[in-house]
Symmetry: T
């Protein structure tokens, strides 16, 4: 199997490891991407990563994924809580998608408990730092395998 | 009369006809634009169409319309439900604006029942597939005529 | 094609043109009905109009329409916001129905933003004065044509 | 001065004095109307009374009042809490209107605390049994005098 | 015992059996009334049935029942959810009343979960198709017997 | 009969006639009190008036009234909407009390629609300018007579 | 026909007839069970009754019923209002189930108006004392017959 | 490393694979437990599994785990949505805990979107069928390793 | 006087003194029970203590208390916030009951501010650590004395 | 130990024993103060009592207490439900404070269930008539001892 | 220009600098007033300061200001969140008013996010410690100049 | 001192002075920037201004500011009310930030009363037209000085 996966990092995640390490941990986005590539190599799948602070750019990336990817792992950052437009993009392209979060959003401010995106995803993984991405990839591969 | 109208297609509408046809119908955005141009030709008005997945780009387009357009027909897509910034753009430029939707948003999920944009428009037309655009144009022309 | 359409005017619309012209415009109900008949003649369809201030009479009219009409255009007036009974009547007879409003209800008091009727209609048109009726007829004919 | 006043008794008020006297008191509607006529004679004004359990009939009566009456005293009964159609009727005819209630609605079930009609009236009088009607007439006459 | 019972069918129930059978079943109102008369004959009680789409007419019927009936079985249809006026009518006449519904309202749209009428009834029976009426009659007779 | 009545003017009412006449009218508090004394003289009752901007002082006045007054007319001003302490004072002394308002509070901001005080009063009169006080006195005298 | 029915009595129903008779009536649970057995004998069906104050034990009983019962009549007591676990048990086993209540829950405290269980039942019967159980059995048998 | 993990299956999960496979999949609880033991063997960790429909028994099991386990994976089933007592148990014992769900709870009924338990867990994994358990174990082991 | 009192410790209280001492203090349940027995000896009353994590077991204990106890002191733990079944048990047995809490629940998470149990108790004491139990016993004895 | 305690009686408590004895009991405030002094004498502590209907005066008293008192027992009366200013006063002076209520506020009107003051107190005692004050003193002394 | 400004310090602000310095800073009210006088001297305006814990006294001060002041700077303290009476006082006198807060109220408890007073002020300044007062004065002078 | 400040103008502010002057005043953005530079020159600080209608571009600008700026003054325009992504950007970079608004948002539509951004800022200044920016700069410099 040679699945192709798009991993999307939403707004402010480019600052990872440099800011608020007590909330998001000390690992940089570059390191996370390296970990994901290592994992991908081990599993013989292709992973492409993308980061943007722009809601529209994330939507564009999801649209383009329909031409090459088998699934999406997305950490929508703060867009999780209000971007119905990203939600519609995921629903429209129909790619199996896993929503991930570094922190346990349910242990934080009330507004972070609502995800407008989760209802159109396969599922959600939250609270395990950068491991959430690895678990998200793994969950997606399991599901893709289940459809194979 | 030679009114000039800007027609704005919001996020994900570029996928029309290729995705979720059971919700949005089988017609592509390109075909809708052709229909609108045909209608414009028939009515001897000028129609320019614009699509973007970027909230900011839609705001920019509304701002620029003030220099050339007599009115706006907008399908704000998912931005309908939270983009107070697009709302303010419409209110600020003061162009007569009609909000249109392909689907009957009131027969869908609860969050789609709220439009933060409708209060600053002339009115709203929802539920008639791509005909909603034609009806929107027509409504706008009636109103512009009323002011003529 | 020789579609037959029932146009229903809800409560207080008999006062149109004589009262609160700053909200509803200066056109009387009689003039609106004349416009609708002119439009019907032009399109070679049959339009019958009905006005009542009685919720039950509106329900009765919807029930009777099932014997002769191909569709309904309804301005439910204030019943829009609470008449679940009219909603059920529309759902029960199953005739394609378009909800119309003279004013942009979304720019008025909060209680006018909720339509209990819209979810069982094809769609909704609001804010274009008496043109809303003409647009509603047109939308309905488009839809009927789509089913033909 | 020879003001003409319409007094409207809403749903279930025809049962007054015969049912639930512990809530509404022992006086019948007929007796209330007699009191109102006595008061009218004393003040040399004309009072016409009307009772109906039908929302539509109450709307019709308000519409007709515009041809002969200088003001309205209305006890909308339970329609107080949801009849936006009666509200619109009062707003549309523009006659000065006083809302009255036999019982102190604010000391009863929560749903009785909301009046959708009060915002378009001159004011509201509640809690004084059949005296509420007399006070309502008096309030209306004071206001009419103030405009004279 | 020769109890006399009024059975009220609220709005849209005249369409039973002809419309939306997937929700309300294939039985017509006429057949339900026949079943109720058969049941009444078997139990030696008198049943009179009444259907109206008019809220006011239902209130009138409840008022008149006080002169001849020992109890009421009512399916208020959509009026269940907002007719405080029917509620007040039931409370005012004081006849023991059972509220019945064909469908399980609690398995349908949220607005159908609220009954403004149930608090003034003996009880409520919902979800058993036309059997709900028979069960309602039976419940009422049990209660009337309890008072005998 | 020689009833004794306390009339309480709540916060900011000392400014009447000098401020915001478009909301509260041009009449000063002194003139209102003169009108109330004239009315009292005519009815042969005793009226004492009291104004304070202090919630505690109003409570004290209600407590002291129990020694000499037969009833209270109170315009609680803005305390209407949150002073549970004044509510408790009225309930504790048990004097029949009428709540009055100059303006139609139901036609103003949402927070003015709630009275925490009305549930423990005989009733409420709102919207008739300074006439509200006269009507309040009259209502109270009617009720006191009813108990005589 | 020889249907087998499980009747479940939820928490605190073991106290019936000994406590709060003004709410729940004077009949003991033992007497209710005797009445149900008498009714079962008359109808030639088998009824087994079960009471527990333990949410888990009620779930276990529902699970076990799947091996022998054709349907369930359940009075979930206070679990009605929050036991999503019992709801899931009923949905999971798929046995036709009728929810019953002794009292008219809609005439009691607000929290008793919500049933988290009703949406997965055939229907609900409330307010007829111990007769609610008999009516529930009857409703269930009607439905089972309808499927026969 | 030889971590010891308690896996808790909440109410109704004993029915897995036999009921509602369209929601929860065709795999039985026994098979899931076998998968977890296989995974545990591969990772050289010890896994003990426990299922109960009783809230109290789940609390007891969490309490006892403090004596032998290094962490907990829990699928609280419907208790997720209201068992503050299980929440307190997890918080009290202080063992690192992962909440898992078979289905994507965010794509189901509204009441399933709230977890009272998630705020005291490390994180939450939902939507991947029985794989959710494997991912939960893996997440827990990653975290335990992070603390080693 | 020889009053007999049941003291109930709800879920997770068996962990007292060993877990989360910063919230609940360092005293164990055993020590609290010793203090209560010492207090009971001093006052010559009989105290029996009971702890369970099972909602049903707590209900059973309340039911059994009716045979021997004069009153109940209960710390319902997390069941405070949702166990309508425990509430109904207390109301049903009718024993005077005092609700106690170790911590000041009003200074903690919002969900802890609601007690569904307090409305059927004599009163509530919260925030004084294990002293809350002693104060609860004392309050109960005062009340029992008042009835003696 | 010679602790000094301020006991504050909020609005309307000066009427105790003379008004609404069915809610607040027959004991006067003077008698309560005598009981508190007797208790103080027995415990060798100093108690000063203060009553006011003025929110500002209560705040002033709390401010002055910081110069002489070791703790406060306060029955804020109706100010409990909205006086954020008293709340801030208690938080600002930092004296350990116990909130007490004569009646069980949780068994009364909904607005009495919210205390804006309790979150900044040590704890709350409600429902034991004048004994609530004695229990409050005792609770405060226990706590002061715990800090000694 | 020689503007005259009233600066009002609301409840508990007399404790500034002596209590809760981690929230409100170490500066005393006296020092703030000195800073304001220094600023006033520099700008050649007159500033009078007033502090009270009494809502009524603050209202009185606002009323009196109308005779001498050109504007008001007010820190309403906790009255911010509920004193509709202070709001009405500001609206009634019509003096341009600036609301200031020492702390960033939007970063504190939820109830502090609502200001009932801000809607009738020119604007609001919050979060800059005692500098908020200086900024408030400056803002007011800018506005007064704009009207000059 | 030579502080460097980024001033961000959010969506639609590029239209200032040309549109809706009755809400936002007649001053253009260019003029405001000139005023800010004049102020900066006077205070010997460096101010860079940035305007964008794109949420993502504003986030990017905040990220870049961390490399050169000492603080931020931001008028987030309509993004104030929903851009959790901008909120997270401000929290992540940790630069002291002041939120400013031209109009008094608390005197406008309800949705403008909520700022999702204010909780992570130093404070908020609203209602003083373009002076709000100057006051914001001044507030920031005061705060930066406090840290120097």
């Amino acid at each position: 199997m040679s699945a192709k996966i798009l991993v999307i990092h939403g707004p402010n995640l480019n600052l990872l490891g440099t800011r608020e390490p007590e909330v998001y941990g000390p690992v940089t986005l570059e390191e996370i991407n390296r970990q994901l590539q290592a994992y991908a190599a081990e599993k013989s799948v292709e992973v492409r990563t993308f980061q943007s602070n722009h809601e529209g750019a994330i939507i564009d990336a999801i649209h383009q994924a329909v031409d090459w990817a088998d699934g999406v792992v997305i950490n929508p950052g703060a867009y999780t809580h209000y971007s119905c437009a990203i939600r519609d993009a995921i629903a429209a392209v129909g790619l199996p998608t896993v929503e991930v979060h570094l922190s346990n959003v349910y242990a934080r401010e009330g507004f972070r408990h609502l995800s407008v995106i989760a209802p159109v995803c396969l599922g959600q993984i939250a609270g395990f730092g950068w491991h959430s991405y690895v678990l998200g990839l793994e969950a997606l591969l399991m599901k893709l395998g289940a459809f194979a």
